[in-house]
Amino acid sequence: MRQVYLDHQSATPLLPEALDAMRPFLTEAFGNPSSLHQLGLRAREAMHHARVQIAALLNAESPEDIFFTSDGQESANLAVKGVAYANQRKGHHIVCSETEHPAVLNSIEFLEKQGFTCTKVKVDRQGFVNPDEVRAVITDQTILVAVHHVNHDIGAIEPVKAIGRIAAERGVPFYVDAEASAGWLPIDVQAFGANLLSFSPHKLYGPKGVGVLYRNKKARLVSILHGGVQEGGRRAGIENVPAIVGAGVAAELALRDMPQRIAHTARLQRKLWEQLQARVPYLQLNGPEPGPHRISTNLNISTEFIEGEGQLLRCDVHGIAVASGSSCVSKSLKISHVLAAIGLNHALAQGNLIMSLGKDNTDEDIDYVVETFAEKVVAPLRAMSPMWDEFERGLIDSAIHPRGQGKSFAAHAATISGKH
């Protein structure tokens, strides 16, 4: 059976070149970088080299502005809380978009319990933040503006340059979560006006166990994990040297191969979406159209009348790895807050499926996915769905292509839930 991995936004395979570079640090070069002997100094030098490689990917002013954490979520925690605590004498107000990753939103929520306040800027139906709204909500008390580069769920590329200019005008540190874009879109912290920017190397063919936080001197930052004096005092804890070395190599190759990776995934993304639409009726794209405003790796669809987990499991049975923002898939039994923010109705959010492409996917992969999805996933699940049946019988209508007959799904769901 063909195996097709379409979950690159959850994890990517490790580049062989990165693993090769890591190997000595997994074996003979096992020193603690805080140690002052050969093994420690060798580790320290290797980490410096990785900082240089990563600084290049981000166009950072200095490798000293690159900090290593354990992953993208820790980086986001450090950026948000580290800036907040460092500036609490100045003010207590944070601005972010409502579609940030939970690492940002929940860090802010934690700070709110400690007396900080937050204004969450709304997004439009495609997921875009309006820079003017950011401008409008910044106050004298604002100590941080946090807007991600690309939304992880729906692939919307946010206007970070414009937001960076506004933050700079107001003298407020600007943090960009670049988890979904690093390695897949050019990043230039200087052009973005970003004082902080984070990502996870494991999303760009690097290893797990390491996160990156860029931070320039204009943003004060205090530690949130306390203890030893690692990472210039910004993060206690022994450095994961092999992973850091692998991250450096992954960053270097991501920069080198970025044009090809973008072109390849963008072509497959269009092909996938066009063929899916042709083969499967009542399918909706969430987020912007494939093109300059959407990351080339992400396709977020809603299959009407069926639920997401079932689609995911049936894909898996046929060798296709995908993700879903359906409430059944989330551990919290809630639909993705991003889908809620763009105003997607609950039934379509339930039917959500996220396919994320990578550099090694092929045209044959796409053909296989489209055929399998239509025949082995959607067809049997619709045959099981009371909604599909009721739609065919004209009792309920489609939200995607309304025929003007029958109740809406929501009205129907309310009626039957009302029974109880």
Partner: protein, 143 residues
């Protein structure tokens, strides 16, 4: 199945991938359709009832793997039971018969119980004579 790793156990996966009693019963004697507030799943169960016994059952489900498996299993379990027995059917039976469900998915089995009970209610509404027999307390005025 060629899979090595499963989110659910083999029984659940089997009922999800090869659901039993899928469909609608034409001329059903009772139909229940319920929705789960928690996650938005929808389940519909139709019953064929003869001589106070459930002769046949069918389901349709809009929901996750465990919701589909739960309704498949519930219809399997209920066939052949008397109305009285069916009235005391509990989601725990579904969970046991499936060999267990993840804690966050127990509500799927509850939904199956509710769909079944809704179908029975529907039947009893249309058959007051049967309702009087199986729900004497509800009919007899309190002393």
């Amino acid at each position: 199945m060629s899979d090595n790793y499963t989110l659910y156990n083999q029984t659940v996966m089997d009922h999800f991938l090869n659901p039993r009693n899928l469909g609608d019963l034409k001329d059903a004697d009772g139909v229940g359709e319920v929705g789960a507030a928690a996650c938005g799943d929808i389940m519909k169960i139709s019953l064929k009832i003869e001589d106070g016994k459930i002769k046949d059952a069918r389901f349709k489900t809009f929901g996750c793997g465990s919701a589909i498996a739960s309704s498949s299993m519930a219809t399997e379990l209920i066939k052949g039971r008397s109305i009285e027995e069916a009235m005391s059917f509990s989601n725990q039976e579904v969970v046991s018969a499936l060999g267990g469900l993840p804690p966050v998915k127990i509500h799927c089995s509850v939904l199956a119980e509710e769909a079944l009970k809704a179908a029975l209610e529907d039947y009893l509404k249309k058959h007051p004579e049967m309702a009087a027999r199986v729900q004497p307390k509800a009919e007899a005025p309190p002393a």
